[in-house]
Symmetry: C3
Subunit: 479 residues, 3 copies
């Protein structure tokens, strides 16, 4: 027989005095029915009041082998202004909505007023948090966060979950950018900022838009970031501090021209898989001092060099089965921006030891006049430093692009982009350096990733087998 005496007759958390609406449980909250504040005026104050209520009710940490189960806070579809920062300092809190609510604010802000006046709607929607915090200081990133997660002491916060709602930064507003402020990707706002060590968090199904930072998480263990829509943010996903054994998968992601789409530092065992990472993004994926991690099965598209960057010392990582596409910005409002890198930097720019780059497809298609420096062959895979790397069976297709017609209306972003991506006819081959192993790098192995003529390396210091050359005079569309 089970030892029933270990359990109380009733858990203290089953009563709630402030039962002003019929609720299924005191641990299931709805921001629109909470008795303190008004969620449409300031959802931040409402959620903070709810968290205070949870803490007031859940005070026993070991009563009947439980006592602090946390709660769920529901945000129905609607517009909810946030002018008070939410501070989450309890485990097992789930905040959930019913709609990620993304729409392209970038297209909207680049559409002329005379077109815009006929639009059906202009703002994002769903269960939508409108971040109306005062502009943050760049040195105090956490201050600009709609949701700040932070607790001192032990244990680490566990199982905080964000799901299925929208966090909208509303406007970019870098004053220095003048008329281009809405294209500046700067407003000092962050969607979710996890400041202290955390375990088993989940961020799923969210829509993050027009934030300078979408999700920033420090010291993460077993974090899940899955199936989110994080786009038109200055930076999308940043894993900072250190961390391990986490997963960024199945997301649609695209940062601004000088921000990170995915960034991680001092991380081990990170799995970045099956994401569709679109432009712009200063880089698509940037690892700094990351080890024994994977980038597999992603589709990445960029308008600039430096799509995948391993900086510092990144070791024993796997990059496989990814599709990389780099072409030139086709949409007029953004043509003036890039990440400042030239084509010698490498589409894949890699530092570190013992990495594997296997079975990737890499397309670069660009009009010769956009290549920097003009006349020099772009570098596709560049081993900048390190030893023991293994680069095998990558297929690099480099072509010149027909010039993009720039007479499309700004609102025609979609048709312009699809036209560009499908423009594979009438391309001619572009000469590139398929793989460049920097002088001084030794002990690397390069196989079947370019012909002898396309690969630059010191064969006295590295192992090499070129892709068999096509019979004389022949060349496909592909390298």
């Amino acid at each position: 027989m089970p030892n029933t005496s270990r359990f109380p007759a009733r858990y203290p958390n089953t009563d709630r005095p402030e039962k002003d609406v019929p609720m299924t449980s005191p641990n299931a909250y709805d921001v629109t029915t909470w008795h303190v504040g008004n969620a449409h005026d300031d959802i931040g104050a409402v959620i903070n009041s709810i968290i205070a209520d949870i803490k007031r009710r859940q005070v026993h940490r070991d009563l009947g082998m439980g006592g602090k189960p946390g709660a769920v806070i529901y945000i129905p579809p609607g517009d909810y202004r946030l002018s008070s920062q939410v501070l989450i300092d309890i485990s097992y809190l789930k905040i959930v909505g019913s709609g990620h609510g993304f729409t392209s604010s970038s297209i909207r802000f680049n559409t002329p007023a005379h077109e815009l006046k006929d639009w059906h709607e202009i703002w994002p929607g769903g269960s939508r948090v409108l971040v109306d915090l005062p502009a943050g200081d760049a040195q105090e990133e956490a201050a600009g966060a709609a949701f700040l997660v932070r607790r001192s002491g032990n244990p680490r916060l566990s199982s905080v979950e964000f799901a299925d709602f929208c966090i909208d930064g509303l406007h970019f507003e870098d004053k220095a950018a003048g008329d281009e402020a809405e294209n500046s990707y700067r407003n000092g706002k962050t969607g979710i900022h996890v400041a202290s060590a955390n375990d088993s968090f989940r961020v799923t199904g969210m829509g993050l838009v027009y934030l300078e930072h979408g999700l920033v998480a420090h010291h993460s263990d077993a974090l899940t970031v899955d199936n989110n829509f994080i786009a038109e943010c200055g930076n999308c996903i940043e894993l900072r501090g250190m961390g391990q054994a986490s997963r960024i998968s199945n997301n649609l992601i695209g940062a601004g021209y000088d921000g990170h789409s995915i960034f991680a530092e001092n991380f081990g065992g990170l799995l970045v898989s099956a994401n569709n990472i679109f432009p712009r993004g200063r880089s698509s994926i940037h690892f700094q001092d990351v080890a024994r991690s994977s980038v597999t099965g992603n589709r990445l598209h960029s308008f600039y060099p430096g799509m995948l960057i391993f900086s510092g010392t990144c070791s024993e990582n796997l990059v496989s089965s990814n599709h990389f596409l780099r072409d030139h910005e086709p949409w007029a409002p953004m043509v003036g921006y890039d990440n400042g890198l030239d084509d010698q930097f490498g589409l894949l720019h890699l530092n570190g030891d013992g990495n594997s780059v296997i079975a990737n497809h890499i397309s670069e298609t660009i009009d010769r006049r956009f290549i920097k420096p003009i006349g020099e062959k772009p570098v596709i895979i560049r081993l900048v430093s390190g030893s023991g790397n293994y680069v095998a069976n990558n297929h690099i297709v480099a072509t010149t692009e027909v010039e993009i017609a720039r007479d499309a209306a700004n609102s025609e972003c979609f048709a312009t982009q699809v036209g560009a991506i499908l423009a594979t006819a009438n391309l001619t081959q572009l000469e590139v350096v398929a793989v460049r192993v920097e002088e001084g790098c030794t002990g690397n192995t390069i196989l079947d990733s370019g012909t002898e003529a396309q690969v630059m390396l010191d064969q006295a210091a590295n192992a090499f087998r070129g892709t068999p050359s096509l019979p004389g005079g022949l060349a496909g569309a592909a390298v």
Copy 2:
């Protein structure tokens, strides 16, 4: 301080006169409590009435930086007949249930009445929409859709979401098929038909069954189709018109013998990953004029040639880390059907330039008497047209199958199928053409995907390195 004056004291959408049940928010609807219609009689009329209510309430497109957040419509578990088509012409609408409710109607309709009378249940379930529209005309596909999504003007519809419910077409009823009508995969019904340009839609957790078309989406941008169960439909997922930057991932899929499991046309940047695509399906994946897209990490199983088809001009796509299995139909009721293609067509039938086919496993196991034309070696990977393609490190295992015993009861579909798939003992090697590069195709590279004897290509026009041959006389179970 935040500029509070930009926000109204209350959003107009926070009141709803027709508050006939306690609801958390006017934007959270439940089809079973809506005051117009009866969801069990016609859920379509109920949802259309709800959409009209949303549009009536949400009229301001720029009030306090919001005004049209959309809504969620909840479908609790239950049987809901749909005799009125739902028309969705607003953004940010989420329709969500609590159960995908799939069961095999195919097994049920092929089970003799004397067995069936003892069954516990016979229909699909969950949050289940029974599509009872009049049979659609093949020329008017949209007319037969349970959910039609269409709006003119700008912007494109954004963030419409379908989640966690079941759409059941009830019966296949091609009159020409006579007694076999329930196996005809035809009834003119579509689950979800997205007719106009759309952005950031999600279809997740759905169960679609016995529909001639499961999901049809035109002009999609950043579409997510994830974790659905779409099977026993004539066609499962069709991306039509054009589109970009989308994701079909983590689904269980299987179409009818003359329909598409996954089809896409004029698409760029599509990621098809980690799906388990089972038979039947005329093809498993069919791309037409698709560029710079990925097919990675899928498991595909088919009973016919033509599992993966690239038609028109499909360029710079990546096909990697997939597991392809082709064997012969083992289940008696479906043995009479196939897709009409012969084994010279190619299991992978590819047209276009600059594609990559890397690191796939391909198993074909079939009794010689089923090969068409009899006596000719089946073709596994066939490059029909194009240049610059790269085919490397694919492992092709071709064997003859022991004959399938056909004495199992029709209801024994499961045991029959598992028995067939596990029958790897006592197989003998089948000679196949591992890779065939059509005459006239030049500039392609074929590496380590078959021995010299197994690959047909013009070595004067293409680059080739054969898999090293096994020592004389030896052959594994595998090619």
Copy 3:
């Protein structure tokens, strides 16, 4: 016009006499408001009562083309003791919570009392089921299951779903382990035990912790196990009996030192993809007599040999794009445990025919004094038996580890682990057998997965091409 006469005016399941709280539908239940029992005292009795109610109400199996749609049972966040086993014998039942609630009980039980007294919380949370069943007998695994799914007759149970709640086994309590009982991974408890044939089940978003068996499913067809957190369980996911066409994807998983993280037997068409499988786990993935299945895009980390095991005859499976890491246990409380295998066993230990092992990264880093037997080169990929296997383009990085400092506090599990995984500096190369093809195995093909000196095989019986050797005297960090 649709034939409306086929439908009843009202479905019988739309009324429920026991309507003691406002509910949206009689098919949507909440354990905290059900009129029988008290969910905090025994959620098992409450759910069994609800299931009885569903069966009492849903008695017509073919009324208006429906009649047995099932139901959803909601578990709000809270602590719910389970002392009665739940028996599920109906299709289309979804049990759903609002929080997976995982926290590390392993760290907690290995933290000294004087530290623990300051902890904010000590138990898992979320929508949490506390399994308080009497200890099960090892021979009667099903008896110890919190949720037992079983039905005889036809059809198979369909579309039972478990989502977003926590099942906590509370304590490990192997008496033989004495003071180490909480590290024993034994308590006779199972989270979910599916005993009979099933179709289209889903287990998603769950948190399973401190159970001897997390999820056990027999005879599964088209099962989905996605996005769960299943860790600190004796065994995590076990697919037993036989099965086909299923998917284990996007999970965070880690079993005990003598249990399975993922196990499957007699299975065809299983897709194991994009999981992050961390230690410990006797193995990370173990297939027994599994055919035509895939292991792709996973990240696996283990402290012992035998990370991937194919036992019996496993044929025509694909292992690609995975990242394997094996190092030595860095966390003091677990240093005394391992799986008993030595380093000759093979990190990948493979039996069977026609398998593909392509494009994987494998890191082994270990101090020489931990290698068993000492002084012998560890074996990385070992083909123990079978023919027709294809091993290509795997990158093996083997290094010696700096010794782990063991002076960290037990509660410093996180920092200790991250430190270990990032410790890639100052490593030196470790000599290993990259691939060993057992004597007597013939007809296998080994390409570019190790130099001639690193691969042991009978070249008279197998095909081989070594990775090109590095120029004389050079060696990277990598093999």
